[in-house]
């Protein structure tokens, strides 16, 4: 067995998996607060990466500042998403909210196409352009940063949910949002925070992804769907599950690219999604939430 190839496959899987993990975390946060699947999640990644790239390339903003501004902008977009979904007070069921998120995703993508003039934008790696050599394999330094970001984001969110008043409130909303309302916390407040957090984490994924490839208005949709598959794989709504699911999916795709029929690599995510839903819908690390009728 070629160890170089093996290590390369694992590194590649972790590199892409870190991004999937961040996307998956976002799906979980919104799902916990609203019970809906937020299809805008992939677009948050696109907006985060694209706006950081535009700021850096077109306006010569320093990289770090560009990333921070992009995260702020995307977080605002998350808040706007909540307003667009729940601001009219007409959507009540998770299913109708889910459908409406698709509409918002289309709007965001359409607007991004016009604003970016269909151009692609890139960011330099924060750790410099060099690559890391590991046992005969090689990866961008940014990969290391992305893994670190994913782990830190999951750790920070776990702490946030366990230790802070707001985090506890969001967990309470996930547990029983109706009862939470009888204690004076409105559904929309928790939903808005959830969308803001999901958008911020999505933007972080975008800023981490941009140095590995380039971003265009079209970069988010498929990434979002794969991130959802990762979320299901790890157990929807559980940040640590999201991390595990993201990395597993990344590695599974890389194995297909490195050893299997490479052209079918992107089918893997959807086969995994189908398989996990039919075999173990609570996910590998999922809670005992009822998913069957």
């Amino acid at each position: 067995m070629d160890t170089g190839l093996f290590i390369q496959v694992i590194l590649s899987g972790l590199s892409v998996g870190a991004i999937y993990a961040l996307v998956a975390v976002g799906f979980g946060v919104v799902f916990n607060a609203t019970g809906a699947i937020n299809f805008v999640q992939g677009e948050y990644v696109m907006v985060g990466g694209l706006s950081a790239g535009m700021l850096y390339e077109a306006w010569d903003v320093p990289v770090l500042v560009a990333i921070l501004v992009a995260i702020a902008l995307t977080t605002l977009l998350g808040v706007l998403t909540e307003m667009g979904l729940l601001g009219f007070g007409r959507l009540r069921t998770p299913a109708s909210i889910t459908i409406a998120t698709i509409a918002i995703a289309v709007v965001v993508k359409g607007a991004a196409m016009l604003i970016s003039n269909r151009d692609t934008f890139a960011l330099p790696s924060l750790l410099g352009p060099g690559s890391l050599q590991v046992l005969g394999a090689s990866t961008s330094r940014q990969t290391l940063l992305n893994l670190l970001l994913a782990v830190l984001a999951v750790a920070a969110l776990t702490l946030f949910f366990q230790r802070t008043k707001l985090g506890t409130t969001l967990r309470a909303a996930a547990s029983d949002s109706e009862t939470l309302q009888t204690f004076g916390v409105s559904y929309r407040t928790t939903a808005r925070w959830a969308f803001a957090i999901a958008a911020a984490v999505g933007a972080l994924a975008g800023a981490g992804l941009a140095p590995l490839t380039v971003m265009s208005f079209d970069s988010g949709t498929l990434l979002g769907l794969k991130g959802f598959a990762a979320a299901m794989l790890g157990g929807l709504g559980n940040p640590r599950g999201a991390l595990a699911g993201g990395l597993m999916l990344g590695v599974a795709e890389a194995v297909m690219s490195g050893y299997g029929a490479a052209a079918y690599a992107d089918v893997v995510a959807f086969v995994v999604l189908l398989a996990i839903l039919t075999l173990r819908p609570t996910g590998m690390l999922g809670t005992s939430r009822a998913v069957r009728t």
């Binding site: 070629d2 170089g4 190839l5 390369q8 496959v9 590194l11 590649s12 590199s15 892409v16 991004i19 359409g110 196409m113 269909r118 151009d119 692609t120 934008f121 890139a122 330099p124 352009p129 690559s131 394999a137 090689s138 990866t139 961008s140 992804l209 590995l212 490839t213 380039v214 971003m215 265009s216 208005f217 079209d218 970069s219 498929l222 990434l223 890389a254 194995v255 690219s257 490195g258 050893y259 490479a262 052209a263 690599a265 992107d266």
Partner: protein
């Protein structure tokens, strides 16, 4: 009965909307002072970027022709639709152009080979000439089955021949090939796997999804066959990832190549240091200012580049803009030859009789058997030197 009235009202409102939509677009083209040319390019959806460049190229051609007094005094009435990458939408829009908008000649096949292939039977059955701007050779081959259809792009066959010629000249016998899974990549894969073995070149292939974010597993896997050159075939940003990944895994010494779909300064710049030294098979347009002044194409490219930059705020044209510009100009030349008669067969005969049309993309020599008109002579191997494209040695 009374209860149904709101429903019926909604129904009839929708109905009225649909019917008036169908009616209002029924302008009849072909009046004496205009010629109606219809175009589809996907300026939204994936591939929107190149669709937009094609639209800019075609629009420039229409503007120039109309400013110069049109075709024998008749101006071009340009009808444009965006199928957004979807063939069934493109089929509807083609029907609309021909049946409802009075389009007499079709230029541009939606920006993807699949769409052009879907449009061809419709235009042919209406006896309308169709000049495509998409890659797949099946759009025009065999020519006897596509008597009214032409295209102003390179057949993948020509590109692959040029590649083989280049590899043979450089003693390269083992090549790693990475096409994307789009129609662009698939067409090239078919050609390369057909032609390379005959030339004694061993090709190992690993495809990738256009939306992929890391290609190192494929690169590393192909490296196991010890290839002398790595060639990617894509039009998407994943090509940037390819450049970065090859350099990261294999270092700076290995030969890295891209197909003509990736000839774009922006992509090269965005790949940073990883793009330096990349070789590309391409039309000569990107290096128009570096080639010999005696080349008959040189002034055409120079004029085009200047006019394009003038029209679009200093933007440099890319090969897609050039293809679309050429397609429109070939149509115009043919219409001038027929005296403005847009009849499909007459236009087709005129195109085949043009002799040599020196365009931006190359010197087209359409014949009854060759409806794509470009040859290996029109292809250049160019090199990105870190800041600009240069002819490769």
């Amino acid at each position: 009965m009374r209860k149904k009235i709101p429903t019926l009202l909604t129904c009839s409102a929708l109905l009225a909307l649909s019917a008036c939509g169908l009616g209002s677009s029924g302008s009849d083209g072909g009046s004496d002072d205009t010629i109606t040319i219809g175009t589809l390019f996907s300026v939204s959806g994936s591939g929107a970027n190149l669709g937009d460049k094609m639209r800019k190229g075609a629009a420039l051609a229409v503007k120039q022709v109309n400013a110069d007094g049109g075709i024998d005094g008749r101006t071009i009435d340009w009808v444009f639709y965006d199928p957004a990458g979807d063939t069934s939408t493109a089929v509807q829009q083609t029907n609309r152009m021909l049946d409802s908008d009075g389009v007499e000649l079709v230029v541009g096949g939606g920006g993807s080979s699949g769409i052009a292939l879907a449009m061809d039977p419709i235009t042919s059955s209406r006896g309308v000439a169709f000049i495509a701007t998409e890659g797949a050779r099946q759009i025009v081959e065999p020519a006897e089955d596509h008597p009214l259809t032409f295209k102003t792009t390179f057949n993948d066959t020509v590109m692959v021949e040029k590649l083989i010629e280049f590899w043979q000249a450089n003693d390269i016998t083992r090549v790693a090939f990475m096409p994307d899974t789009s129609s662009f990549g698939q067409s090239a894969q078919e050609e390369l796997e057909r032609l390379a073995p005959e030339a004694g070149i061993e090709v190992s292939t690993a495809a990738f999804d256009p939306a992929a974010n890391d290609l190192t597993p494929q690169v590393k896997r192909l490296a196991g066959n010890d290839p002398q050159a790595y060639l990617a075939w894509t039009i998407t940003p994943a090509g940037v990832t390819f450049l970065k990944n090859v350099r990261s895994v294999l270092g700076d010494d290995v030969m890295v190549m891209h197909g003509f779909g990736f000839v774009d300064e922006r992509y090269m710049t965005q790949a940073g240091a990883a793009s330096k030294g990349t070789l590309l098979v391409s039309p000569k347009l990107p290096v128009w200012d570096e080639i010999d002044k005696s080349d008959e194409q040189q002034p055409v490219m120079e004029d085009f580049a200047a006019a394009y930059a003038d029209e679009y705020d200093g933007e440099q044209p890319n090969v897609y803009a050039g293809q679309a510009y050429d397609a429109m100009m070939v149509a115009v030349e043919a219409l001038r030859a027929t005296g403005g008669d847009p009849d499909g067969e007459k236009v087709a005969d005129a195109i085949e009789a043009l002799g040599t049309h020196v365009g931006v993309t190359g010197a087209f020599k359409f014949t009854a058997d060759d409806h794509s008109g470009l040859s290996v002579d029109d292809v250049a191997v160019i090199r990105w030197d870190g800041s600009r494209f240069m002819p490769a040695k």
